[in-house]
Symmetry: C2
Subunit: 99 residues, 2 copies
């Protein structure tokens, strides 16, 4: 059973698209870190919020990825553009299509 | 840009795992209906809630899938086991890994 994670983050006015770019810039290295799925989404009726859905080999793989230099650099770059309002939900993935 | 959907539903006490099975039982037909991703998850610290993350070719494909006989049958079967408490978020998928 793999580890799932659904998070949202609020961005400063006008910063959403730049943060989306930062979140997508590190995607290439995720697979070898144990990531099965990483989806970055926005809503047409909310120009400040970004949703990220992730599926990882395990919680350990996810936690370890946060310590990678490229992850830390991306977080450092995005942080000033975030308001500090987050939601997060840790999950156990039961199955589905496309995983 | 594909259409994303993150939903949660609350189940009646003791019914969560059965509803998960119903949600996963129709997965085979989803791809030809235009579904790219369909992930069913639960949380270790909440034995009543199910989270579903979906990515579709378009909103039209998603909406049409709700009219399929097998979808209607699954909804009818699960409905008595749900409390009626839902959350839903429609999204535009910007990119990621594993799609």
């Amino acid at each position: 059973m793999t580890y799932g994670y659904i998070a949202s983050m609020k961005t400063q006015p006008g910063s959403r698209d730049e943060v989306v770019c930062i979140l997508l810039s590190g995607v290439d290295g995720l697979r070898e870190a144990g990531c099965h799925l990483y989806v970055v989404s926005v809503s047409d009726d909310d120009d400040a919020t970004i949703w990220v859905t992730e599926v990882w080999e395990s919680k350990g793989h996810h936690d370890a990825s946060l310590e990678l230099p490229e992850t830390k650099a991306a977080i450092g770059k995005a942080m000033p553009m975030l308001t500090g309002e987050f939601t997060r939900q840790e999950l156990s993935v039961m199955g589905g299509l496309g995983l």
